[in-house]
Every structure is written in structure tokens, then in C-alpha cells.
């Protein structure tokens, strides 16, 4: 397994992934390969399927056609495979989705204790290190409701990292934040990207893409329209739809 991860073999393989919501064709044959350590930014208009796509990768959404292989494990109806894949993939949501009845520390230690069977002491020690890393060690014993949006999202990142995942998915992590809090979350994400984490980030924060993305994917109407390095995408986009969309989000 380790062999497969080294020397540039893809850790995520998606081939011709299709997804329907009733009669709505949300993903129309999306294919993508991601190598370990790559930072991918996915952008596009709302309803283009970008969130749906990354949610199929940890099977929060089930794909109906095509193949998804994560770190050598193919996603199918096999529940044990799904649980294994999920524990290798961390996810950060637009709405944070912290557990309001648990303290910050309990939010972070929950999965390591119950999924990885870590001792409480070890889990708490790791959790405190992670809180240090995301810059809020002093909030460990508070409840999520007592934190600002930016702090909550940083706890959510720490919670996902506590499982020591190989891949991190970010589903519009800054869209629900007030402008002054976006930077503190992006700073954490940039640090994470530079540390070599494999990341798939759905976002319109083009400063983040410029700083750390290896590749960018433009989604529209359930398909990948264009892909390239940030330089290619920003300087010389090939498709008209990409140009139009970029001009709309970069103008303001």
C-alpha cells in the first residue's frame, strides 16, 4: 500500500463518475486523478456539481456510475470499505458542523477515541497539539457556540486532522465566514498545504489558489470544463465559460 503512494502514483482516482438526484444529472462523467501531496482547487458556479463531486469521494453522496478508488480502496456498497476510506479522509464543511453538545477538546478527540481506539490521554494530547497548530490552544474547554465563526472552522480543521488523514476535503470552508475571519482560516489551510497534505478545496478564494494550488479544476453543469495550473487558469484560460466566470468573481 505504501508503495502505491510514493513516486507519484495517484491516491485518488475518479473515472467517469456520474451522479443523479432523482432526474437531475448532477455529475456527468467526472474524471480526476490526484497524487499524494497535491493541492487541488475546484471552482465554478453554484450548482455545477463541485461540492457533490468531493462529497462522493468519502461517500457522503453515492455515485451511480463510474469508479472511485481512494488509496487503493474502491468505493462500493461495502460498508467496511466506506468506513476505512472515511477514516483516511478528513472533511471540513461550509457550516463547520461541530458537535454543539461537546467541548472543543471532545469534538477533536471523539473520532480518534471511538474509531482509532486511542486512549483518552493520547487523544487529548494530540488534540491540544492540533489546537496549538490552528492557533487557538486556549479554547479547548469551551463549547463551539462560544467561539467565533473563524475559530469554529479552525476547530473543525483540527477535528478532521486528529484522525491523521491522508487526504483533506474542504467544501467552501470560508463561505459562511465574515470577511475579517476568512484570513485566519486561509492561513491555517495554507500552512497545511505547505506541510504536504493532499488537499481538495472547493473555494472561490483565488488568493489561496494562487498561493498553494498545484492544479485547478473549473466545473460547470456537472462536468470539468477546464483544468490547469493556477498560472494557466488565471493568465490564459482556454474556455469562454472559464473566462466569463473568472471575470465575474475577480471583478469585485
Amino acid at each position: 500500500m505504501d508503495e502505491a503512494n510514493k513516486d507519484g502514483k495517484p491516491i485518488i482516482i475518479a473515472r467517469e463518475v456520474h451522479k443523479w438526484f432523482d432526474n437531475f444529472h448532477a455529475l456527468k462523467g467526472v474524471s480526476m486523478e490526484v497524487k499524494p501531496g497535491e493541492v487541488i482547487v475546484i471552482f465554478g458556479p453554484s450548482g455545477s456539481g463541485k461540492s457533490t463531486f468531493i462529497r462522493t469521494l468519502n461517500r457522503l453522496e453515492e455515485h451511480q456510475k463510474g469508479t472511485i478508488i481512494i488509496d487503493g480502496i474502491e468505493l462500493s456498497h461495502d460498508v467496511r470499505n466506506i468506513e476505512r476510506v472515511r477514516s483516511e479522509i478528513g472533511m471540513v464543511f461550509q457550516q463547520f458542523n461541530l458537535f454543539p453538545h461537546l467541548t472543543v477538546l471532545e469534538n477533536i478527540t471523539l473520532a480518534p477515541i471511538w474509531v482509532r481506539n486511542w486512549k483518552k490521554d493520547k487523544a487529548e494530547q494530540v488534540a491540544r497539539q492540533l489546537l496549538e497548530r490552528v492557533g487557538i490552544p486556549e479554547q479547548a474547554d469551551k463549547f463551539p457556540g462560544q467561539l467565533s465563526g473563524g475559530q469554529q472552522q479552525r476547530v473543525a480543521i483540527a477535528r478532521a486532522l486528529a484522525m491523521q488523514p491522508k487526504i483533506m476535503l474542504f467544501d467552501e470552508p470560508t463561505s459562511a465566514l465574515d470577511p475579517e475571519m476568512i484570513k485566519e482560516v486561509l492561513d491555517v489551510m495554507v500552512e497545511l498545504a505547505r506541510s504536504g497534505m493532499t488537499m481538495l478545496v472547493v473555494t472561490h478564494e483565488m488568493s489561496f489558489a494562487r498561493a498553494v494550488a498545484h492544479r485547478m479544476y473549473f466545473f460547470d453543469a456537472g462536468n470539468i470544463i477546464e483544468t490547469g495550473t493556477p498560472e494557466q487558469i488565471f493568465k490564459s484560460p482556454q474556455e469562454d465559460r472559464t473566462k466569463l466566470f473568472l471575470s465575474q468573481i475577480l471583478e469585485h
Binding site: 468519502n58 476505512r84 472515511r86 457550516q95 458542523n97 458537535f99 453538545h101 473520532a111 478532521a160 484522525m163
Partner: protein, 403 residues
């Protein structure tokens, strides 16, 4: 965005008592009129009630047989067993007070004071013998000793929980019924049990057993397995569509006809099963309300962390859902507590049944229903009030409504 430099004035001090009166009771002529009428009616009813209670009322049907109200026909030589049970629970209540402080404090203090007062309460009858008074006083003392012990660091909440579990199994299954053929604990059939003993047994048993059953039903109703889902729905809807009286009749009379005579289940247990089934269906619907209020994002986040469905339900969904429905569940349990009086119609002498029996069997008490029912109402009110008080404290501590 610069802050305004002028300081805002603090709001005026809260108005005094006269101001409060003017605002709330005499704000308009109509309001003043209603206040005066209300005050007059309340005053005269209270004066009449108090003077009736102390001069006209004849409390003999209450005082003549205090033991009947407490334990029914429980054999008098075996009275030490309910006495021992009382001591055990008094000690546990005291320890719970020491461990959980404010949830139990008011109830524990009230109970201790009540027991102490009862110890020295003058009664014309000699049925309350010196040993019985001794047990009451000892119970009051044990509540306090339990509190002192629960306060220390040796006793953890988990010890007290274990103590309660052991006592709740031991008392109704071993100490009170005894063991067939035993000399130390001779068998006492449940038709000898009665009064407050039966009322508490049925309501505490009903509450404790119906709660987990109801939670399982609520989860079953949302299950993705069609068999589980539909059997839960059918169970809940059938039970909710039938009055409790009917269920009690079914379990007490009809069920017996279908079962072979040697496998007859005790009638108190039959009534308890009926109560549990009835209450579980309502608990299930209350809990379902809480389950529906949990945002789907909570479950997605838990799934994304790799938690299994069982852990998601136990660690994420249920704690939040139950917290939301505490007020409803406690309300339901209070009405269940009062509904246990219905077992009177299937011939079980609960508190109300004993009251009725005393009224019916003694011709000299025939016009004294008022006294008996008032006494029973006060007992029910005391327990119900403390249940709702504990629920309020629990809601405050868990921050219901503040997410």
C-alpha cells in the same frame, strides 16, 4: 467603523414594589377591577378552605389507617421489608443529593423534613408503632448521612448510579416479594401490596422501563430496515390509538384467557407491562421530535470522521435529541405518574384504590370523600411538583434552548 465616544446611560433601576403593582395589576380600570375581584375570591376561598380543614373536616379516614395508605395489606410481621427498602432509598437519595447537588437538594431536604415530622406526628391510632416511627426518623437521618458521604471525594456519580440500579432491582424483585419457601424472606404475593408502595412501584417502574423502550422505538421508526421501521410504526400508532384503560383491561383480563393457567403472570406485573407499553409509544413520539430537530450536517460530519452508525446515534444524535425533549418527556412522565391511578379499575389497590376502599368499607366515613381525595391529591402534587422542579434544573444545567 469607529466606536461612538458617548457612553450610553445605564437603564433605570428596576421599579419598586408599588410601581410593579401599578404596572401589572392596576394598569387600567378593567385591570384594577379584575385584580380586586380576583383578590376577594382568592381570599375567601383560602379562608374557607383553611377553616374547613382545621375545624369542620373529619380527617379520620386519613389518620385511622396510615399504614394502609403507605403499603396496603402488606403483612404486618413483614413490615421491616418495606422499612428496609425505605432506608435503602433514603440513603441513595441522600447520596444523590451529595453527588448531583441541586437536582436532588430540594427534594431530599423536603423528604427528610417530611419523614422527621411524620415521626413525631400525633396519631390516635396505635398502628404506627414505635419501630415504624424509628424507621422514619432513621430514614431522615440516613438522607443526611448519605449527603455527607456523597459530598466526599470517595463517592463518584457512577457509584451512586450503580447503587440505584442494584436497589431498583433488589427491592421490587427480592426484598418486597421475598423468595418462595424462604424463612427469612417469606413470599408476599402482590395482592397484599398496596397504597403508595404500588403507586411508586408502577410509576417508577413504568418510567424507567418505558424510557429505553421508547427511545428504541423512536430509532426504529427512522430505521432504514423496512421490517424494523414498519413494526415500530404499527406498534406506536396502535398503542397511541387505544386508551390506557383498555390496555390495562387487555393485559389484566383478556391476556389471562389466552395463557395457560400455570404460566400466569403476576397481575401487578401485567399492569406494569401495560403501562410500559402505553408510555413507550408516547416516549417514542416525543423522542422522534428531538431526532428530527438534529441538523443533517451533524450526521454528515460524524460520518466523514469515520464513525459507525451505532456510535453516531449514541454519541451525536441521541445526546442532542434527548436534551431537546427533556421538558416533553418529563411532562409525559408526570402524567404517567398520575395515570397509574387507573390500575384501581383492574383491582389493584394503589393509593387512590386504598382511599376508595377505606371510604367504601366504613359506613361512618361515607360522606368524607373530600378529605380523602384532598389528602391523595396533595401527595400526588408533591411528587409531580418535584419531578417538574428537577426537570427545570436539568434543563438549566444542560442549556436546553441555547445551542
Amino acid at each position: 467603523m469607529t466606536a461612538t465616544t458617548t457612553q450610553e446611560m445605564a437603564p433605570p433601576a428596576p421599579p419598586g414594589f408599588l410601581e410593579w403593582l401599578r404596572k401589572n395589576l392596576f394598569s387600567s380600570w378593567l385591570n384594577s377591577l379584575l385584580t380586586i375581584i380576583g383578590a376577594v375570591v382568592t381570599f375567601f376561598s383560602l379562608v374557607n378552605l383553611v377553616s374547613w380543614a382545621f375545624t369542620k373536616a373529619d380527617w379520620r379516614p386519613v389518620t385511622v389507617a396510615p399504614l394502609l395508605y403507605l403499603v396496603g395489606q402488606y403483612p404486618r410481621p413483614e413490615l421491616w421489608r418495606p422499612g428496609l427498602s425505605l432506608l435503602i432509598f433514603a440513603f441513595l437519595i441522600g447520596m444523590s443529593w451529595g453527588v448531583w447537588k441541586r437536582y436532588m437538594r430540594v427534594f431530599a431536604i423536603f423528604l427528610a423534613v417530611l419523614l422527621a415530622v411524620m415521626t413525631f406526628f400525633p396519631l390516635e391510632t396505635a398502628t404506627i408503632t414505635l419501630p415504624i416511627r424509628g424507621v422514619m426518623l432513621a430514614s431522615a437521618v440516613l438522607i443526611y448521612l448519605g449527603y455527607l458521604l456523597g459530598h466526599t471525594s470517595f463517592i463518584l456519580p457512577r457509584h451512586v448510579v450503580i447503587g440505584w440500579l442494584v436497589a431498583l432491582l433488589l427491592v421490587p424483585l427480592v426484598i418486597l416479594p421475598g423468595i418462595q419457601g424462604s424463612d427469612l424472606l417469606p413470599f408476599v404475593p402482590t395482592n397484599a401490596w398496596g397504597g403508595l408502595l404500588i403507586t411508586l412501584l408502577l410509576s417508577v417502574g413504568g418510567i424507567l422501563l418505558s424510557f429505553p423502550f421508547g427511545v428504541l422505538l423512536a430509532l426504529g421508526r427512522r430505521s432504514s430496515l423496512p421490517v424494523v421501521k414498519w413494526s415500530s410504526i404499527v406498534f406506536i400508532e396502535v398503542v397511541r390509538g387505544v386508551p390506557l384503560v383498555t390496555i390495562l383491561f387487555m393485559f389484566s383480563i383478556i391476556l389471562v384467557l389466552f395463557l395457560p393457567s400455570e404460566s400466569r403472570i403476576d397481575r401487578v406485573i401485567r399492569a406494569l407491562i401495560g403501562i410500559v407499553i402505553f408510555s413507550a409509544a408516547y416516549t417514542a413520539e416525543n423522542v422522534r421530535g428531538g431526532l428530527q430537530a438534529i441538523p443533517p450536517g451533524q450526521i454528515e460530519a460524524a460520518k466523514a470522521l469515520g464513525l459507525r452508525n451505532y456510535h453516531i446515534t449514541r454519541l451525536i444524535v441521541l445526546p442532542q435529541a434527548l436534551r431537546l425533549v427533556i421538558p416533553n418527556i418529563v411532562g409525559q412522565f408526570i402524567s404517567l405518574f398520575k395515570d397509574t391511578t387507573l390500575v384501581y379499575i383492574v383491582g389493584i389497590n394503589d393509593l387512590l384504590g386504598i382511599g376508595n376502599a377505606i371510604l367504601n368499607l366504613n359506613p361512618q366515613f361515607v360522606r368524607l370523600q373530600m378529605e380523602v381525595y384532598l389528602f391523595i391529591a396533595i401527595i400526588f402534587w408533591i411528587f409531580s411538583y418535584f419531578m417538574s422542579y428537577a426537570s427545570l434544573q436539568l434543563e438549566k444545567a444542560l442549556g436546553v434552548g441555547e445551542r
